[in-house]
Amino acid sequence: MKLTHFVATTWSVALMSTSALAGSHLAQGRDGNVNIIYWQAVSILNPFLSGGTKDIDASNLILEPLARYDQDGNMVPWLATEIPTVENGGVSEDLTSITWNIKPGIKWSDGTDFTAADVVFTAEYCMNEDGGCKQTTSFSDVESVVADDDLTVTVTFTKPKPFHYGAFVGGTSPILQAAQFKDCVGAAAPNCTEQNFNPIGTGPFMVNEFRANDVVTMVANPNYRDPSKPAFASLTFKGGGDAASAGRAVLETGEFDYAWNLQIDPTVLADMAEAGNGTVVSSFGTAVERMMVNMTNPSADLGDKRSTLEGGPHPFLSDPAVRRALSIAIDRNLLAEVGYGAAGTATCNVVPAPTIYASTANDECLVQNIELANQVLDDAGWARGADGIREKDGVRLSILYQTSTNAVRQDTQALVKQWWTEIGVETELKNIDAAVFFGGDQSSPDTFQKFFADIEMYTNLFDGTDPEAYMNSWTCAEIPSPENNWLGSNMPRYCNADYDALATELSETAAIEDRARIVMKMNDMLMAEGAMIPLVHRGRVSAHANSLNGVILNTWDSEMWNAADWTRGE
Amino acid sequence: MLDSAEEPLVRVRDLKMHFPIYKGLMKRQVGAVKAVDGISFDIFEGETLGLVGESGCGKSTVGRCVLRLYDILSGSVVLDGQEIADLNGPDLRAKRPEMQMIFQDPQACLNPRMTVGSIISEPLFEHKKMTKEERRSKVAELMDAVGLARRFADRYPHEFSGGQRQRIGIARALALNPKFIVCDEPIAALDVSIQAQVVNLLEDLQDKLGLTYLFISHDLSMVRHLADRVAVMYLGRFVELAPSETLYTNPQHPYTQALLSAVPHPDPAQAGGVDRIILKGDVPSPAAPPTGCTFHTRCPRAIDICKKDAPEWRQIGDGHFGACHLID
């Protein structure tokens, strides 16, 4: 009798709790399934072992960092209670350490507690020399990461670090579970297939099934900190194919809810959007399509000294007048419109964003001016020869212009060639397969680091919102040469003591306004000297179904940053 | 022969067989090869009619038409009192057992994926209601009859020599007890030493089973040896037909004379008396045969009329027929 009573009570309690849950219209998993398509397939769900955006985005549905950037590039606390600053005491006065406080009560999807030990472990995991971690930049200058207590972590730097938010901030630096990865440190990291394919996280979803290079299916994390999120009970993250068909699957056939990075002909995308199933969204980060101007001589006659400082300056690109003429002869607005549509705007800066860093000093080049370009060249003594090509002292303005193989880039090349012809500059175009061009194969002469050409074009950007490491790219020490195995990011071989001094100053300055001033100065210096010719500020274009609410496209962090807030509308 | 009271086993009248020529993108018919162009003859029961001529003259086509392996263009073929020229489908198949063919190439005419036993017994399936045992003994019997060891029944055709294959072909042809057999150059592909064996086998079988042969060959001496009567063919038409001895000793048509003059004589001393007649030029295309007498382009004795009028097929002696303006 007693037992019956007990059972009945338990039942009624259970029933009440279920009905309570059902009564709330904000229960987790209320909106069924959401389908996401990336035209590159996910290879691995451990972001530390992959640099690919697709892998990082997929893993960001599962793994989370301590803080993220929002759509405007502002930092927001994620697993931390607040953003540590010097003002709130989270960052030491001498800028050598930063202390993070973790939100209490956060659980891993397996139900165990998320603690500072996991954060410490993540740092050890990535900083291990033998692990092949691809996100070591996040941990640069980190001396130690220590757990002060279960909810407090202190990161100590080897030197004063004005920008101290590298580690554990943003989609590329999330936290791994120590318990799961403890045997996967160092050389063992790549062999932990089970862990790398099924990481346990704190995020809104957890892996149900992962098929490498194909599809990930996920289900809502029952231990997620907000019981009403995510709205979707399951998620399919399909990969592969091409951008056009991914766009079609969202905008035309309606099979998918979200398509990533639709780098396709703007007119084709506009046609697809007319079907009315979905919305094209775009957002601008720091990516700039630019030309790198080779300041050194790439002549093959120089042998080993080709495209190095020892090989001497470039026969004609060393003349600032030529660099300026080349830049103002280009109609950037047309390039942006033809090649990028909504995903591009003309720019004259290598740092176009965030707004506080964006300079306006170089806007001369926003308007094409062939007449002025001709004038500049005439004044500098470059006279047109019999064939209309300018020359001076036996040097012809003949340019080898290389880039990676890509329809938009070849269109751009063709347009630029035409404009340069109008100012008496001869252009030879070359395109190289991306895997070769951007690959670092020492034996290939066609890498962008070797730069055996006069002009090369590609897109570069920086992660997060702080451009310090990015600006460092153009210091003398970063010039690629045979001595450093062509490792270096200063493609123009630009070397200026004043610039290097500014870089040093930047690394010692903490106040954001001062940093912005220095970065702008560096940007303007690069532009005025013509080491680079920026063309188009490139945004990210994605598309989502009209029935998918809550999508906020974010170029400062993973695109999946707020997937927990996504819901299904009408 | 037409006045003979005896009814012939095979009666062919005005047989015509033209092969269409397709050309062009849409493969339209642009003409026809007149392989057989109006031929008449009879074959009597137990007789062997020889049919000779150069290659490409239509001899084999005549054989195949008579057996209705082709749908003939026009004419009449009566076998054993029944008109078979317009038979088709099941009716024609029912007639097949009475008439058979022995082919020139003993390799090509045997299905390479079937054993000898199944090749010989296949028609028995189709036409006779026999048990497995009966069929087996019939196959053995036939193999005995053509001089093949019974144990060879499970082998494939390619495992045999040319002469043996031809024996298989003969056994196959005999399986349904036919009355009439067309031998289409049955020895042309064989070694000379084997030829005689096969010819003797054919003769023995004729004696034993009372077979009637249409023996097609370009080997004039073999035909002389084997045939009771001989027909000579040129460009789809008969030019001369006569009892064997008559034709060989007294050929009337210039073409026959030319053919016979080319036969090497066993005794060169005797051969000296005969002048060899060398025919000039090639055989004209049967797609566009010459006007008048088709032979006039190569005839050493052609006269004007030969170019205009085709000579009439008429009797020129006792059982001797010919078509030539020069024969009186």
Binding site: T53, K134, A189, T193, G240, T253, E255, D441 | L110, P123
Partner: protein
């Protein structure tokens, strides 16, 4: 025949070793780099470290021998271990061939993709055979008839229009134009995780297979029907067909027993020789419909300069090609009594 097979198999060992070396050499010489597709934000020093962690700093012959050891010794041992659930030697530490992009054993990736490949590409192959053989037979039997003319035209189209065109055309028609709620609507993206449990899920599986299967089948059938037709025409004019008719056999028997059986000899060998294609998958079609076949795996590997994956897959294809060449030869010997080995 057995001796012949054994002799041939023994001969394949040095052949395959040579092939594996050539593949390795070509991949090594190709100016391709596994860090080439990483975002630009990863600095060159980190890229170099990544290269070293992948073992790319070792000399070429060392890397080749390592691959040989992993593929020819470790993988088979691992396979045996998994089958019989036993541990041979140091099974925990044994290095397997690992993909650089996924960090998982390549053999597991291949095994995971095998079912879809066989389902879709294999099915398309079966469909193409089922379509092509009757078309080839009828076209040959009724040569120059309207059926033959149409067959020629259709196979010309099927052969000359690339699959990336037919594939996208079908998607535009059946996924975009046809409304979503119509029964003629077909999914343009293959759901690789779909499991067939009942009739409705089976029906869905059929629907999602229709387009990729038909695109591939049209292409294959075009080739195969031409081949079948040519082979039939060769045999139809043979004397043994005349023999068969002279025997008084029914036309159906003549055609299906005599002509077809002989015509099938070369066709069967062609079919056998193309079986490795099925395993190789159909790179373009799989990419369009996002079928996770081996072809798609290969193209992803190539794009990402995932050398161990490309090396292993290419070698597996080479093994299949060599083996099916042998199978084709043996089949030829079995089907055609005129062919005798030894």
């Amino acid at each position: 025949m057995l001796n012949y097979t054994i002799r041939r198999l023994m001969f394949t060992i040095p052949t395959l070793l040579f092939i594996s070396f050539v593949i390795f050499l070509i991949l090594d010489l190709a100016p391709n780099d596994p860090t080439g597709n990483l975002p630009m934000t990863i600095p060159p020093e980190v890229r170099e470290k990544i290269r070293i962690s992948l073992g790319l700093d070792a000399p070429m012959y060392v890397r080749y021998l390592l691959w040989c050891k992993q593929f020819f010794i470790n993988e088979p041992l691992n396979l045996i271990g998994e089958w019989f659930n036993i541990c041979i030697g140091a099974c925990e530490d044994r290095l397997r061939v690992r993909s650089w992009a996924t960090r998982s054993p390549v053999v597991d990736l291949i095994a995971e993709r095998m079912p879809q490949t066989l389902w879709v590409v294999g099915m398309s192959y079966v469909v193409s055979i089922v379509i092509a053989l009757p078309i080839g037979v009828i076209s040959a039997y009724k040569q120059y008839s309207w059926f033959d003319q149409i067959g020629t035209f259709v196979s010309m189209i099927g052969f000359s229009i690339p699959t990336f065109f037919t594939g996208v055309m079908l998607i535009v028609i059946f996924s975009v134009w046809v409304p979503n709620d119509s029964i003629f609507w077909l999914p343009s993206i293959y759901d690789t995780t779909h499991k067939v449990t009942d009739w409705s899920s089976f029906w869905f599986q059929m629907r999602q297979m229709v387009m990729p299967v038909m695109v591939l089948a049209l292409y294959n059938a075009a080739q195969l029907s031409r081949f079948m037709r040519a082979s039939m025409l060769d045999n139809l004019s043979q004397d043994y067909v005349r023999t068969a008719r002279a025997k008084g056999l029914k036309e159906k028997t003549v055609l299906l027993v005599h002509v077809l059986r002989n015509s099938m000899i070369p066709v069967v060998t062609v079919i056998a020789l193309s079986v490795p294609q099925v395993f190789g998958g159909a790179i373009i079609t799989e990419q369009i419909f996002r079928v996770n076949g081996l072809g798609q795996l290969l193209i992803i590997g190539i794009q990402g300069a995932d050398i161990p994956l490309v090396q292993t897959l290419t070698f597996v294809f080479a093994v299949l090609i060599v083996l099916f060449n042998l199978v084709a030869d043996i089949l030829y010997g079995l089907l055609d009594p005129r062919i005798r080995y030894d």
